[in-house]
Amino acid sequence: MNQRITLKLNGETRSVDVEPSDILIDVLREKLGVKSPKIGCEKGDCGTCTILLDGKTVRSCLILAIEVDGHEITTVEGLNREGLTPLQRSLLEHGSFQCGFCAPGVVLSATELLEKNPQPTEEEAKEAIAGNLCRCTGYEPIIKAIVGVGQKAGGRV
């Protein structure tokens, strides 16, 4: 019953055999070896499994692997081929994470926001990561880092 799917994963074309019932997060982690999306709740509440599917954030625990046949997926591993992104640098600068388990999901949600809206307000930053639960930081240093990217970019213009 296996079916072969082909997708663009972090810029590279990959093919993999999946069962129709395979969840995307499991295929990414177990069959394609991409470990940054994490398993936190398996029902779309926590956001640790967030990926970019054709540039939009998706909970990879909520979709089947066969649905991404022919599509493009980006995880944190695919973001910084050319070095850290301005967002990642800002997160480092602001000491944004503690345990770090939510970080891959947060980075992708914030990346999506900054693509659409390069200079977000604090409120917009909060809204963008509202689906990514963090139990450690109280979110403050993450929000500051996201807003900081826009402020820095704005200053340069």
Binding site: G40, T48, V76, G95, C99, C136, E140
Partner: protein, 809 residues
């Protein structure tokens, strides 16, 4: 004090690059190849039942199933402070969701399917789900064998009852104390259960190889304690400590939930049963809620006596804890509170009864704050109410009674240096205490609430830390310790301490994550003690390295060691200002003499620390005579809360928290503990609302129904204030701060609610729904439906605290 170059700096976290790039590896990210097996747990649907039979035949026949394990295969008991918990229970289940059997299969789907085929026949017993019932004469017993359990010497279980432990603390003369009071005020407060909600679920992979070696890859705060507890449990199988190895990569949050051993025993048990195959047990989010540890619920009655001038004369504090089906760790929470439930105040006459009661809810255990958040809710609510009755300002009242260095604690030892008075003043100033604020929106009211806090690590008196340290060829440094980076910034702080002694910059130091085969010993990363305890060990190891380097220089060059010092990664000499020897030039290869030979060799060393002054031995009737706590960290906090009159919805406009860090090794990390801890604490007041059915089933074991804060729910502003009154035995004066920052949160919210709308909430949580109902005259208890937040179903005001019958034994 000499000038510090690394300690006191906000060095960047050394683990953060790995975390923002996705490179950080957690247990579930490790690869074990094609032979990895997966486990699915068969769980008890009953809170209390006898296991009559388990039939595994149908499950075993499913293709792909490797083994089905039950209590018959693996009947061993385990526990940290009392061995009352079972890897798999043999005759009786004690909470809904308890593991009864496990199916190990080639893939997770097969394991899941086969687990449904395991047939367990139960005989339902009356569950113990109410504290009043649990403490009655002839109560149904959760542990009929309680008297036979191995336990630590400072627990006092009462065989034939549901009392697992009773900590009694008596100081002065309580009757006399209340006689001297002009005002005696008494009331009861309740706090339900809570869960940790670390975003990473528990996971363990076990491999018992053909050479008889058991390796466990575990998401744990406690690698060495896991090895020890599991070694004790597996001793009947002939395994000893050297045969067991625990490896802990990055951990995705702990908050106490990953301390000790909870579900990890299953990973160890299954590995033993499927020799030579690695087997993974990963908890679902639901299991994360009900089968690790929970924070205990408590009913607490406080009687406080005060003089007209505000001097406290006496406190009687009785706490009955809903400790769940197993208390191997949780009874120590009860113990810690029994020693410290005076709060940070000088009180001459004290009577504390902290009673650990077995019930048929999930096991209790450590949760950030270790019981202190729970008792501070009542105590700090009570402090404000007593001040009001005296006509005194609540902040003045606290300050008048605030504890000072040298004061006699409830158990007779002396208080350590403390910046509580400064903390109170700075928080009051920052929150604008005494200045009433008015919202521009007529539907919204603003209130302010204040609370103090204290907490000591609750550790056995021989809880030790150790460190190994070695130089590399380029003068960089590796430190191997077994404290755990659970997000608090432990690795960075250890690097800063070593950097300060050795002048090697933090960027050139790697601090390794624990592996019990290689890294030095650490009891556990709990109690906010590792900055202090492990920091002392790292400092000792760094001093040993420095001594060895100076010795090499003396032997090779003939310099007097007393004239040598380190600066900028070089050995320098006071007697020869021109001399400088870079560390990288000799820390591996030694120093060459004119004869061509080399003196020295790889510089490495170790350090250890144990609080040798502590003792848990004391009179069980009074707790006098011992020195159970190493020191207390104190502080104060306040909040400005906005309440919508119509909906009850609350928004934290500003929160301030001051904590006495002794010395903030890394001020930015201290501030991040304040911000994160305040948000976690506020959530216990405003959002998290656990619900059990009347049959003991947890109803909201997920993030949809059990609400933890999102980025939209955080305060408008959180102001951390660092106080630094040095701890004489801490590294550079440091003491722990991490748990403490959530302790005052619930009480300060309750006090602010009353300040805003005149409503006194005596039970947690204080959700918008509750505030809206109660402030329109509807009792929440009347409308909340047939659910409970812990084992308490009566009315707090009529709860009887002295279960004499149960106490007789």
């Amino acid at each position: 004090m000499t000038q510090l170059n690394f300690v006191g700096e906000s060095s960047k976290r050394i683990d953060l690059l790995a975390k923002v790039t996705g490179a950080a590896t957690y247990v579930d990210d490790l690869d074990f190849g094609g032979d990895l097996l997966y486990a699915e747990i068969v769980e008890s649907p009953y809170a209390h039942a006898l296991i009559k039979s388990i039939n595994t035949a149908a499950a075993e026949k499913v293709p792909g199933v490797v083994r089905v394990v039950t209590g018959k295969d693996f009947p061993y008991r385990f526990g940290l402070y009392m061995q009352d918990r079972f890897s798999f229970p043999t005759d009786r289940v004690r909470f809904v969701g308890e593991q009864v059997a496990a199916v190990v299969a080639r893939d997770a789907k097969t394991a899941k399917r086969a687990a449904k085929l395991v047939k367990v026949v139960y005989e339902e017993l009356e569950p113990v789900l109410d504290l009043t019932e649990a403490l009655k004469d002839n109560a149904v017993l959760v542990h009929p064998d309680l008297g036979n359990y191995t336990r630590c010497p400072w627990f006092f279980p009462q065989a034939g009852t549901n009392i697992a432990h009773w900590r009694k603390t008596r100081k002065g003369n309580i009757e006399q104390g209340f006689k001297e009071a002009d005002l005696v005020f008494e009331d009861t407060y309740t706090v339900p259960r809570y869960t940790h909600c670390a975003i990473e679920p528990h996971v363990i992979v076990g491999l018992y190889d053909l050479a008889g070696r058991l390796t466990l890859w575990s998401a744990s705060q406690s690698p060495y304690t896991q090895r020890n507890v599991i070694a004790q449990a597996l001793a009947p199988l002939g395994l000893s400590h050297k045969d067991i190895r625990v490896v802990t990569p990055y951990v995705g949050g702990g908050f106490g939930g990953k301390a000790g051993v909870s579900m990890e025993i299953i990973g160890a048990a299954l590995a033993m049963m499927v020799k030579s195959h690695p087997v993974k047990v990963r908890w679902t989010r639901a299991q994360e809620f009900y089968n690790t540890y929970q924070r205990q619920g408590v009913v607490a009655r406080i009687k406080l006596g005060v003089k007209k001038d505000g001097t406290i004369t006496a406190i009687e504090h009785s706490l009955h804890w809903d400790a769940g089906g197993y208390v191997e760790y949780g009874a120590n929470v009860v113990n810690a509170v029994g020693l410290s439930a005076t709060g940070p105040y000088r009180i001459p006459n004290v009577k504390i009864d902290s009673v650990c009661v077995y019930t048929n809810l999930p096991p209790s255990g450590p949760y950030r704050g270790f019981g202190y958040s729970e008792f501070h809710f009542g105590l700090e609510s009570h402090m404000t109410r007593v001040a009001q009755k005296l006509g005194m300002d609540p902040v003045e009242f606290r300050k008048k009674n605030a504890i000072r260095e040298g004061d006699t604690l409830a158990y007779g030892a002396k208080m350590n240096p403390s910046g509580l008075h400064e903390a109170i003043d700075r928080v009051a100033a920052e929150i604008g205490w005494g200045k009433k604020e008015v919202s521009k929106d007529p539907d919204k009211v603003l209130g302010k609430g204040f609370a103090c806090f204290w907490k000591a690590p609750a550790m056995p008196p021989n809880a030790a830390s150790a460190a190994f340290m070695k130089f590399n060829e380029d003068g960089s440094l590796n430190i191997s310790v077994s404290g755990m980076e659970i997000g608090q910034g432990f690795l960075t702080v250890m690097a800063q301490i070593a950097a300060e002694i050795l002048t090697v910059p933090v960027e050139k130091i790697r601090v390794e994550l624990p592996d019990t085969d290689r890294n030095a010993y650490e009891w556990q990363t709990v109690g906010s003690h590792v900055t202090w305890g492990c920091g002392n060990a790292v400092k000792a190891a760094a001093l040993e390295l420095r001594g060895k380097m100076f010795d090499v220089v003396r032997r090779a060059l003939g310099f007097d060691e007393q004239t040598l010092y380190l600066e900028d990664e070089k050995v320098k000499c006071r007697a020869r200002p021109a001399f400088e020897l870079p560390l990288r030039d000799f820390v591996i290869n030694g120093i060459q003499t004119p004869h061509g030979n080399f003196i020295g060799g790889p510089i490495l060393g170790s350090g250890m620390f144990m609080p040798e002054f502590t003792s848990a031995l004391s009179d069980p009737e009074t707790s006098q005579g011992g020195h159970p706590n190493v020191h207390y960290t104190v502080g104060a906090a306040a909040v400005t809360l906005e309440i919508d009159r119509k909906t009850g919805k609350m928004r934290v406009r500003k929160a301030v928290l001051a904590v006495d860090a002794g010395k903030a090794i890394n001020p930015e990390l201290v501030r991040s503990q304040v911000v994160g801890g305040v948000v976690q604490g506020l959530a216990t007041a405003l959002y998290e609302d656990i619900r059990y059915s009347r049959k003991g089933k947890l109803l909201n074991a997920n993030f949809t129904d059990y609400k933890i804060p999102t980025a939209m729910d955080v305060p408008d502003e959180i102001v951390p204030v660092i106080i630094e009154v040095p701890q004489p035995d801490g590294p550079f004066g440091a003491r722990g701060v991490a748990e403490h920052t959530m302790i005052p949160a619930a009480a300060m919210v309750a006090n602010a609610v009353e300040d805003a709308i005149g409503l006194r909430m005596k039970s947690l949580p204080i959700t918008a729904e509750k505030v809206a109902l109660e402030s329109s005259g509807i009792s929440y208890d009347d409308v909340k439906g047939a659910t409970v937040g812990f084992c308490f179903m009566g009315s707090a005001d009529t709860y009887k605290f002295h279960a004499k019958g149960a106490a007789k034994k």
